[in-house]
Assembly symmetry: D2
Homo-oligomer: 131 residues x 4
C-alpha cells in the first residue's frame, strides 16, 4: 500500500462522543488521496483528467480520539471498465488497530465530465497503486 | 420514509469542484438522524441507550450545489440480530433527482458500550421506522 | 436587528470540550448571512456585486452545547467609506444568554474584485439593515 | 515567533469563492495552537490547567487557495491580569504574503473552570512565547 499519510487527532476533530466524528474521517481519507496525487499523479490533472468519487463504503472499526496519531495507507483493489476501487486503511500509528477501512470507488473523467474507460494512459497512471 | 429534513446548500458547504463536499454530505445525513431522534426517539437516550454507526455505504449520484434545497428521508430497511440498516435518501426538493443515497448500519449499545440484541423495547422503538 | 436564524446544536458541532467549536460558530454566523441575502439582498448578486469579509472580531461569551437552540440576529452598526460592519449576536433561544457576539467587517466588490464605495445603490441596499 | 505549523491547502478546504473558507482558517490556527501545546506546553494540561479562547480578532488579508502551502507562526503579544493575547500569523510559504493575522485572547482556567491570574507557574510556562 502507498502513501502513509499521518494525522494527529486534535480537539476540533472530535464530537459529542469524544471520538473523531464520522464525517471528519472522510476528510482524513480525502487528505490521503490529495497526498497521493501530489506524490504520484500530477500528470493526471495536467492531462485534463478529473477524479470523481462515486461511492464510499466505510467501516468504523475502532474510534480514534485526541492524542492518537493515525496513518492512512491506500491501494487500488479493483480495476473495472469505467471505475476503480481504492482501499484506504486507517490505523493507529505503531499499532495494528484499524480505525476505519474504506472502499472508495472512483471514475476518471475527461474535460466534458464523462467517465472514461480505464485504459491506455489512465490505466498506466493507476497501475502502480494496484494492491 | 420518515423525517424530511430540509437543508439549503450554502457557499461554505462546497469544495474546489463547486459541489457539496463528500464529507459534508455525512454531516447532512447525521443532521437528519438527530432530527429523527428529537422527533421520535427521545426515550432511547432516556433509557441509557446509545446509537453507534458501524458502517456507511454512500452513493454519490448527482452533486448538490449552491442554491439547491435538499431533503433527506430515512427508513430502516434491515433488522439484524445486533445491528440495523437505515436507508437515507437525499433528493433535490421538488424534483426526483437523488443527490446521495446512504445505507447506515448502526448498533444500539447499553451503558457498557456493548451492542445489544435488537429485541424487546429496542425493537419496539425502532419498528415505526421500518420501510 | 434582522434575520433570526435558528440552529439546533448537534453532536457533530461539538469538540473535545463538549461545546460548539470556535470555528463552527463562524459557520453558524455565515449561515445567518446567507439567510439575510436570500431574504433581502438578492439584487446584490444579480447586479454582479460580491460580499467579502475582511475582518471578524468574535467574543466567545457563553458556550453552546448539545440540545441548545441558538438564534442569530444581525444589523449593520457602521457604514464606512469602503467597508461596513455587521454585528451578529447569537443567543440561546428563549433566554437573554449571549453565546457569541461578532463584528463582521465586509466590503462590496464589483466584477473586478475591487472594494467599491458604500454609496448609491449599494448604500441603498444595505440601509435597511442599519441598527 | 514560535511553531511554524505548515498546512497544504486542499480541495475540501475551499468554498464557493474558490478560497479557503473563513471558518476553516480558525481550524488552521487552532491546529497551530495544538502543535504549540504538544511541543512546549505539556505541563499545562498535566497540572490540570485548561486553555480557553475568549476572543478572536482575525484579519483576512490575502486568500489562500488550492496548491498553496501556508505557515503559521505564533507569539504572545500581551500578558494581562487574567488573560493573554496570542498573535497568530499565517503566510504563504516561501513568500511574505500574509494570508490571515489573528489576535487570539485566551484565559488559563483551573479545574473549577474559572480564569486564573497570569502569575507564578502559569506566567512561567507562557513567558517563552513572548514576542
Amino acid at each position: 500500500m502507498k502513501n502513509n499519510t499521518e494525522i494527529k487527532v486534535r480537539g476540533y476533530h472530535l464530537d459529542v462522543y469524544g471520538h473523531v466524528n464520522n464525517a471528519r474521517y472522510l476528510e482524513f481519507i480525502e487528505e490521503a488521496r490529495w497526498e497521493l496525487f501530489d506524490a504520484y499523479l500530477g500528470t493526471l490533472a495536467a492531462k485534463g483528467y478529473s477524479f470523481f468519487v462515486v461511492n464510499i463504503n466505510i467501516n468504523y472499526k475502532s474510534p480514534a480520539t485526541i492524542g492518537d496519531t493515525i496513518e492512512i495507507a491506500s491501494c487500488i483493489t479493483r480495476f473495472g471498465g469505467k471505475s476503480c476501487t481504492l482501499k484506504q486503511k486507517m490505523t493507529k500509528k505503531g499499532t495494528d488497530i484499524t480505525v476505519v477501512e474504506a472502499d472508495v470507488t472512483f471514475v476518471i473523467a475527461g474535460t466534458e465530465g464523462r467517465a472514461l474507460p480505464v485504459e491506455g494512459d489512465i490505466r498506466e497512471m493507476l497501475e502502480p497503486f494496484a494492491a
